[in-house]
C-alpha cells in the first residue's frame, strides 16, 4: 500500500513535468516567430518596442515573481501542516495574479487607445514590421494572460480543497503541482518581459 502511494506521488510529479514541457513548446511557437521577425525587421521592432510601457512591465514582473515566492512558501507550509498559513499564502498568490491582470488591462487599453493594434489605421499606413511586433505582443501576452487566469482558477480550487481538508501534510501533490504550474507561468513571463520591454 505504501509503495502504491509512492508510485502515485512520483507519477503525478512526472505527469506535471511533462505537461510543463508541452506548455513551453506551445509558447515556443510564438518565440520562434518573434526570433524570425526580429531578424527580418530589426529596425521596426526597435521603434515599436519603444512604445512599450516599461513601468507596467516592471510592476508585473515584480508581482509575478513575488506571487511565485508565495506559491513556493505555501508548499513548505503544507508540508509542515500549517493550514492557516497555506490559505493566506495562496490568497496572496491569487491577489498578486489579479493585480497583474488589472495592470494588463490598463496597459492594453492605453496601447489600443494609442492605435497600436492589428489592422489599425495607424499601422495600415506605417512600415509593416511594427504591426507584426504588436500582433506578436498581443498574442503572446494574451496567451500568457489566459494562463494567469487559468492559474487563478486552479489556485482557488486548490485553496478550497485545502480548507476542506482534502489537501494536507500527508497528501499535497495537487498543491505542489499547481505551484509548479504557477512557476511556469512566471518563467514564461521572465522571457516575455526582456524580449518585449527591455532588449529593443
Amino acid at each position: 500500500m505504501i509503495r502504491k502511494m509512492e508510485k502515485e506521488y512520483a507519477g503525478a510529479k512526472l505527469g506535471i513535468w511533462l505537461f510543463l514541457f508541452t506548455e513551453i513548446l506551445l509558447f515556443g511557437g510564438l518565440f520562434l516567430l518573434y526570433a524570425t521577425y526580429l531578424s527580418s525587421y530589426p529596425r521596426e521592432f526597435a521603434i515599436a518596442g519603444r512604445e512599450m510601457h516599461l513601468g507596467f512591465g516592471t510592476a508585473n514582473t515584480i508581482l509575478l515573481i513575488t506571487s511565485s515566492l508565495f506559491a513556493a512558501m505555501s508548499v513548505t507550509a503544507v508540508q509542515q501542516g500549517e493550514i492557516r498559513k497555506v490559505l493566506n499564502l495562496l490568497g496572496a498568490t491569487i491577489i498578486c495574479a489579479m493585480i497583474f491582470l488589472v495592470n494588463k488591462y490598463f496597459e492594453w487599453s492605453s496601447e489600443i487607445g494609442h492605435g497600436f493594434y492589428p489592422d489599425s489605421p495607424r499601422f495600415s499606413a506605417g512600415p509593416i514590421g511594427e504591426a507584426l511586433f504588436f500582433s506578436l505582443y498581443y498574442l503572446t501576452t494574451g496567451l500568457h494572460g489566459f494562463h494567469v487566469l487559468a492559474g487563478v482558477g486552479l489556485l482557488t480550487v486548490v485553496a478550497l480543497k485545502v480548507r476542506r481538508g482534502a489537501i494536507h501534510a500527508g497528501d499535497y501533490v495537487l498543491l505542489e503541482n499547481s505551484a509548479l504550474y504557477w512557476h511556469l507561468v512566471d518563467l514564461i513571463w521572465i522571457f516575455i518581459f526582456p524580449l518585449y520591454y527591455l532588449v529593443l
Partner: protein, 541 residues
C-alpha cells in the same frame, strides 16, 4: 453495449463485474478497457464516414470532367476526408484504442497512471470531433483548404476554417493528455519483474509515440490558434502584404505534422512486432534493435519536417540538410523490416487473419517507405511534388501500413476483450479483397503522379483516364473487402464462438488473463519472470 450482448460471459469480466453496464457507466468509466472500446467505436465511425467520402472522391475521378460533383464540392470533400482520417481516426486511433486496451495489461498494471485524465482525453476527443462536424454545417460550410490548412488560402477562404481548426486544436489537447498519461504509466506502473528489457515491443512503440504526442502536438496547437487569430483579428503574421511570412506557417505546421505521421505508423510497427513472433512460433529477432529503432524514428523523425517544403522557397542548404535527415529516418525503418523478415525466417508460420494483415503490412509499408525516399531526394521531389504520387505514397504508408496494422490488431486483440471471436474464412477473404483492392487503388496513383497528374483536382487530362478508372474500380474492391471484414469481425465479436484466454499461444501478459479480462485485469498482481517472446513459458507471467 450492455450485458445482454453477452448472455453467456462469465460474471468476472470488465463487461459486468462492477455490476454497472448502463450508458453512463461507460461514458463516465475510468476503466482503460472501457475507454479503449469507446475510442474504438468513435474512431471507427469517423473512419467509415471518411471511407465513404473517399469512395465519392474516387467516383468523381473515374472519368475526366465533372462526374458527380463540381470543384467546390470536391475541394470540401477531400479536406473533410483528410481531416477525419488524420485527426479523428489514425492519430487518436492507435493510442486511444490499442494503447488503452492492451498497453496497461501488457505491462502488468491494473489501469493507466491517471484514469480520470484518460476519461477526460476521450471527452476532449468527442468535443473536438463534434466541433469539426459542426464546422461542416455552419458558417461558410465545410473547409476546402486540404487537411494541412495552408495559409494564405486558409485565411482568405470564406468556408468555416476557424471552427474546424478549433476542433482539431481540442483533439490535439486530448492527444497530449494521452501521451502524458502513457509515458507516466510506462515509467511508473510496470509490474514487478517487468524490466525495460522485457517490455513487449508494442509498449515500446506506444512509448515512443507518446513522446511525439507530448513534444510535437503543442506546436500544432499554437499554429492553429494563430490561423484563427489571422482570420478573426487580422494579425498578419502569415500575410506577406503585411510583413508576415507564409513559409513560417509551413514550418510550424510540419514541425508537428511530420512527427505526427510517426504517431500514425509507430504503433502499427509495434503491433506487427507482436504478431510475427506469435504466428511464426519464434522469438522476435533483434528485440533491442526494434525497440531502439522506435525511439530513433521518433527522434530523427522530429528533424525532417522541411522535406514537405522543398518547392516552397527554402534555401538550397536547408533542402540538402533536410533531404539528408530524411534518408537517416530510413535506417531505423529498414532495421525493423529486416528484423521482421529475420523473425519469419525458418519460423513455423501459420497464416491466420492477424498474420495476413501483418504480412501485407511489410510489403505495403515498404512500397510506401521507398516511394517516400523518392520524395525525400531533393531532385526527384521537384518532379513529383504535389502530384498523385504523393497521394499514392501517403496511402501506402498510412493505409497500407498503419491501417492494415490496425486491422491486424483488431483481429488479434479485440476477441480478447469481447470473449468471442470471428470466423476465419470470411476474415481471410476480406483480407484478400482488401489487399488486391488496395494495390489496384493506390498503385495507379503512383504511376499517374510520375506522369504528371496533379493532386487535389476534380478533373484531369484525357490521357490519365485509364489508370484513374482502374483506381476507382480498385476502390470498390477495397471497400467490399472492408465491409466484409467489419461485418464478420463485429458479428463474431458479439455472437461468435467463445475465445479462450490464450488460443494463439502468445507469451505477453495479456494472454495470461481471462478473455475478457476482469476490471482489475489480473486476479493477483503478476510477477513477471520471462521476456515477452519466451514461448516456452507462454501463459504464465
Amino acid at each position: 453495449m450492455n450485458s445482454s450482448n453477452h448472455p453467456t460471459l462469465p460474471l468476472t469480466s470488465f463487461w459486468n463485474d462492477t455490476g454497472k453496464c448502463g450508458v453512463s457507466a461507460w461514458v463516465f468509466s475510468t476503466d482503460h478497457k472501457r475507454i479503449g472500446l469507446l475510442y474504438l467505436y468513435s474512431v471507427l465511425i469517423s473512419f467509415l464516414v471518411a471511407v465513404l467520402i473517399g469512395l465519392l472522391l474516387k467516383i468523381e475521378l473515374m472519368a475526366p470532367g465533372r462526374t458527380i460533383m463540381g470543384p467546390v464540392t470536391y475541394n470540401a470533400l477531400f479536406t473533410v476526408h483528410g481531416v477525419l482520417m488524420i485527426f479523428l481516426f489514425i492519430i487518436p486511433g492507435f493510442p486511444g484504442v490499442f494503447g488503452n486496451l492492451v498497453m496497461p495489461i501488457q505491462i502488468g498494471a491494473s489501469d493507466v497512471a491517471f484514469p480520470r485524465l484518460n476519461l477526460l482525453s476521450w471527452w476532449l476527443y468527442i468535443t473536438g470531433a463534434l466541433t469539426i462536424v459542426l464546422s461542416l454545417f455552419t458558417g461558410g460550410g465545410p473547409p476546402d483548404t486540404g487537411w494541412t490548412f495552408y495559409v494564405p488560402f486558409s485565411v482568405r477562404t470564406g468556408t468555416n476554417v476557424s471552427l474546424a481548426v478549433i476542433g482539431v486544436f481540442i483533439v490535439g489537447f486530448s492527444s497530449i493528455l494521452t501521451g502524458i498519461n502513457f509515458v507516466t504509466t510506462i515509467h511508473r506502473l510496470r509490474a514487478d519483474g517487468m524490466a525495460w528489457g522485457r517490455l513487449p515491443l508494442f509498449v515500446w512503440s506506444i512509448y515512443a509515440t507518446a513522446w511525439i504526442q507530448i513534444l510535437a502536438t503543442p506546436v500544432l496547437g499554437i499554429t492553429l490558434l494563430l490561423v484563427v487569430a489571422e482570420r478573426l483579428l487580422g494579425t498578419g503574421l502569415f500575410d506577406p502584404s503585411r510583413g508576415g511570412d507564409p513559409i513560417m506557417f509551413q514550418h510550424l505546421f510540419w514541425i508537428y505534422s511530420h512527427p505526427a505521421v510517426y504517431i500514425m505508423i509507430l504503433p502499427g510497427m509495434g503491433i506487427v512486432s507482436e504478431i510475427f513472433p506469435v504466428f511464426a512460433r519464434k522469438p522476435i529477432f533483434g528485440y533491442k534493435m526494434i525497440a531502439f529503432s522506435s525511439l530513433a524514428i521518433a527522434g530523427a523523425g522530429s528533424l525532417v519536417w522541411a522535406h514537405h517544403m522543398f518547392t516552397s522557397g527554402i534555401s538550397d542548404m536547408a533542402v540538402l540538410v533536410f533531404s539528408f535527415l530524411t534518408f537517416v529516418v530510413a535506417i531505423p525503418s529498414a532495421i525493423k523490416v529486416f528484423n521482421w523478415v529475420s523473425t519469419l525466417y525458418k519460423g513455423s508460420i501459420s497464416l491466420e487473419a492477424p498474420m495476413l494483415f501483418a504480412l501485407s503490412f511489410i510489403m505495403l509499408f515498404s512500397i510506401g517507405g521507398l516511394t517516400g525516399l523518392v520524395q525525400g531526394a531533393a531532385a526527384t521531389n521537384i518532379h513529383i511534388h504535389d502530384t498523385q504520387f504523393v497521394v499514392g505514397h501517403f496511402h501506402y504508408v498510412i493505409f497500407g501500413g498503419a491501417g492494415f496494422a490496425f486491422f491486424s490488431a483488431m483481429h488479434y486483440w479485440l476477441p480478447k476483450f469481447f470473449g468471442r471471436t470471428y470466423s476465419e474464412k470470411p476474415a481471410m477473404i476480406s483480407w484478400g479483397l482488401m489487399f488486391a483492392g488496395f494495390n489496384l487503388t493506390y498503385f495507379p496513383m503512383i504511376i499517374l503522379g510520375m506522369k504528371g497528374m496533379p493532386r487535389r483536382y476534380y478533373d484531369y487530362l484525357p490521357e490519365f483516364a485509364p489508370l484513374n478508372l482502374i483506381s476507382t474500380i480498385g476502390s470498390w474492391i477495397l471497400a467490399a473487402g472492408l465491409a466484409i471484414m467489419m461485418i464478420n469481425l463485429f458479428m463474431g465479436l458479439l455472437k461468435g464462438r467463445p475465445f479462450g484466454s490464450n488460443p494463439w499461444g502468445g507469451a505477453t501478459l495479456e494472454w495470461t488473463t481471462p478473455s475478457p479480462p476482469p476490471t482489475e485485469n489480473f486476479d493477483e498482481e503478476p510477477v513477471v519472470t520471462h521476456g515477452p517472446y519466451d514461448f516456452n513459458r507462454a501463459g504464465v507471467p
